[in-house]
């Protein structure tokens, strides 16, 4: 009896302590917020006074700005010091969030009551969540007016006129999108030109007819001259050439990894899935024929890449297939000059085939034109999937927003400043060679990460595509050579039914495509698939997406 009483006492004691603790925790947070607010208010007040006098007195303490990063720079990095002095700010890099588990870590840190000032969300589809949580603040027209050059430059790259569909809500802007200028170029096909020559073809195929001839020859005429029937025409990434020849790229990959279904505009100009378009049935019929005739590598099911760098096609490097795709020309470029090493996959190709030579053994080709005159390969799209967000904490302090906006605007107008942010300091991080090209100091800073430690890259909040071209002339000269027709990904808002149904639809699509290509199911099954696809959420997603776009843009 006594023991039980004691136990009761113990339990109630624990409960009381727990209650007290939770109460005190509540008290703390409610106390903290108004305090912060008043502080922020006084700051903005003093700031207003100063803006009236136009120039802030130099004695004013620098305002602290917290930017989310994936790795901290050295505390006394010279690049950062220079920027801090320029804007009279102090950057704080305590918000370290690993890019691979971004939402998870970000969520935990936010829920502990802290907030950064500026954050680059890796996926603009997540912005809904952060608006609801009260993290993302509206970028008001007044704020937008402070970065006119940014808008002027990025909107030039917005070829589908859709870059703001997921950055805006009811016409209000919540995020700034960066541009990756190389995404504006389509991916290319890489050909074994020595194989082509061995089977009597002297030019890289441009039409589906010629493409087919080459593919069958690669299978049947022993292009590698080893006397064994061990070669195939194409594998998984080469399908893009066939799909594109019929008018669309249906999905990111049939192999491993997430098989994102691509969205295109249909004839009415509305967003719609590409994988259900009737042209795809024709393309699948073609591929089924190819598979039956043995010109598709049967290992296409597991993809061409066997690990390591994603852009490497091991099937191609090992001489199993004669054409590969889904890469940019700059993955395969030979060295531009003695200071450069060539593209990442080019280097792997040479490691595996020491006698290979660009232009002789392998070369780059563009899209294949189909029977209806359509052509194109996949294009990543110039508008990146990530998005820059000002937080609600940041916009309370005008000094912070002004400093960040000015930093963005200066990145877009001042080439020398751009170089400071992206290349570092001349003489320390890079040098100019005789032709005026920028050469990185690879001896002291061999990896990007070494430069990041020095503060380089971190403050280029949004990429300036035109300055990038200016700083990397070789790169863009090379990529420009292989510019051709392409199908760019449409930007689209990720709606509720999208998140709910998309993975099931992805599976359905991949299963269907696979079984039609391998001949398990007849081509006619495609119609049944389309039906199934739209019944199981496809219709809802398309409708929601289109209404959401209109709503987001405030139309």
């Amino acid at each position: 009896m006594k023991q039980r009483n004691n136990m009761k006492k113990g339990i109630s004691l624990v409960l009381v302590i727990a209650l007290l603790m939770s109460l005190s925790a509540c008290g703390k947070t409610t106390e903290k917020n108004p305090a912060e607010q008043t502080q922020a208010e006084t700051k903005t007040e003093t700031n207003q006074v100063q803006t009236e006098q136009q120039k802030p007195t130099p004695k004013e303490d620098p305002v602290v700005i917290q930017i989310v990063t994936s790795a901290q720079p050295d505390p006394d990095a010279k690049v950062i010091k220079a920027v801090e002095e320029k804007y009279n700010v102090k950057f704080n890099w305590d918000w370290v969030v690993d890019g691979k588990k971004f939402n998870e870590v970000m969520g935990v840190k936010l829920s502990s009551g802290e907030m950064p000032d500026f954050v680059m969300l890796p996926d603009s589809g997540d912005i809904n969540k952060y608006i609801k949580q009260g993290l993302a603040a509206e970028i008001t027209p007044e704020m937008q007016a402070k970065i006119p050059t940014y808008f002027k430059v990025v909107e030039k790259y917005d070829e589908n006129k859709n870059m703001w569909v997921d950055a805006k809500r009811k016409g209000k802007l919540y995020g700034l999108k960066p541009i990756s200028s190389q995404g504006a170029y389509p991916t290319v096909l890489i050909w074994r030109t020595d194989w082509l020559k061995n089977v009597g073809i002297n030019e890289i195929p441009k039409t589906l007819e010629d493409f087919e001839k080459a593919m069958y020859a690669f299978k049947e005429k022993d292009p590698d001259k080893d006397g064994q029937p061990n070669t195939y025409g194409l594998s998984e990434t080469g399908f893009d050439a066939v799909f594109g020849a019929f008018g669309a790229i249906p999905l990111k990959t049939l192999g491993k990894g997430r098989q994102v279904l691509f969205i295109t505009k249909n004839e009415q100009g509305e967003l719609a899935f590409a994988c259900t378009r009737p042209e795809m049935k024709e393309a699948l019929a073609k591929l089924q024929q190819y598979y039956k005739d043995g010109i598709i590598d049967p290992e296409f099911v597991t993809g061409e890449n066997k690990g390591g760098y994603w852009a490497t096609s091991h099937a191609f490097i090992n001489g199993r297939i004669g054409v590969t795709g889904k890469v940019l020309p700059t993955h395969w470029n030979p060295p531009y000059d003695k200071d450069s090493q060539g593209g990442a996959v080019y280097q792997e190709m040479l490691a595996a085939n020491p006698n290979a030579k660009f232009g002789e053994t392998f070369d780059i080709g563009t899209a294949i034109t189909g029977p209806h005159g359509k052509a194109g390969l996949h294009k990543w799209g110039a508008v990146n999937s990530n998005i820059g967000v000002f937080t609600t904490k940041c916009v309370q302090d005008e000094r912070k927003t002004n400093a960040i906006l000015q930093l963005i605007e200066d990145t877009f107008t001042d080439y020398d400043f751009y170089l400071l942010l992206t290349k570092g300091i001349e003489g320390i991080h890079y040098t100019k060679n005789a032709e005026g090209k920028l050469v990185r100091n690879a001896k002291d800073f061999p990896k990007d990460n070494d430069l990041r430690k020095e503060g380089v890259y971190l403050l280029e909040l949004l990429q300036q595509p035109e300055f990038r071209k200016q700083a990397l002339p070789d790169y863009y000269e090379f990529i420009e050579k292989y510019n051709g027709p392409g199908y760019a990904d449409e930007m689209y808002p990720k709606t509720e039914s999208y998140s709910k149904n998309i993975s099931a639809l992805e599976r359905l699509t991949v299963d269907t495509y696979m079984s039609i290509i391998t001949g398990e199911k007849p081509v006619e099954y495609f119609d049944e698939f389309v039906d199934l696809f739209y019944k199981n959420g496809g219709t809802a997603i398309e409708q929601e997406m289109n209404t959401q776009v209109k709503e987001n843009l405030g139309q």
Binding site: V108, G308, P354
Partner: protein, 292 residues
Amino acid sequence: MRIKKSRENIIFDIIVYGILLGMGIMTIVPFLQVITISLSPQEELAKYGMHILPQKITWAGYERVLSYGPIWRAYLNTIIRTVSGTALSIMVLILGAYALSKPYFPHRKFWTLIIVFTMYFSGGLIPRYILVNNVLKMGNTLFALIIPGLASGFNLIIMRNFFSNISLSYEEAAKIDGANHFQILRHVYLPLSKPIIATVSLWVGVGHWNEWFDSMLYIRDENKQVLQFVLRKLILEGTSVEEEMAAGTQIFVNSDTMKMAALILSMIPVLMIYPFLQKHFVQGLKLGGVKE
């Protein structure tokens, strides 16, 4: 006298050995693959098929890893974390288990219940983060990696059960000789419970060695990151196209040879310690699990 094996026994043995052999191969083959990749030059790796035995040997991967500064720093951090974390953990567990194992310990059931409670329910990630980072102010320090997991309920109960099996007569005898509780623990209990200490140390130690998520969560300074987190970064680098798009530039790619060499180097210490603790392992588990 020999027991004659019946046919069922033989079939049973064949099945058991078959399964064990299968499991053995499933464990060994990936391991061999990792070793082979770490020793092979790039052109070998680009070839199709499994890489079970190295065809050509190169030490380039190891050379590159060993000359890569952050790995050494991370290695040291992990060793500090594992050694100090395990030592502290074992100390706390022994003290806790000793008290809980005494039948005359006041409210023993209640305290045991509280500890068992933590095995079934936990506050979750967010409260833990708030506690460690905001309340205890341990963010960006080694303490954030050691203190939160210091005494796990499961280990404490296992150890308590082991201690409960040690006859109270030893304690009485020691008391008659004038020993206090600390002396009893030091001179009677510890020598008798080597197996359980070895077992639990192994669990805690390997746990510390392999853990990376807390390092990602609490540590901001790259110089304080642990080995597994640095390795994870190294291995995931360059595996997705999205990363490259966001970076806006071609990222520097570490060769598979280097990645696997780093993996092997991280495995060596655990591999070396295992055989020495293994003999205690089975015994400790068995004894801790049963209570008379």
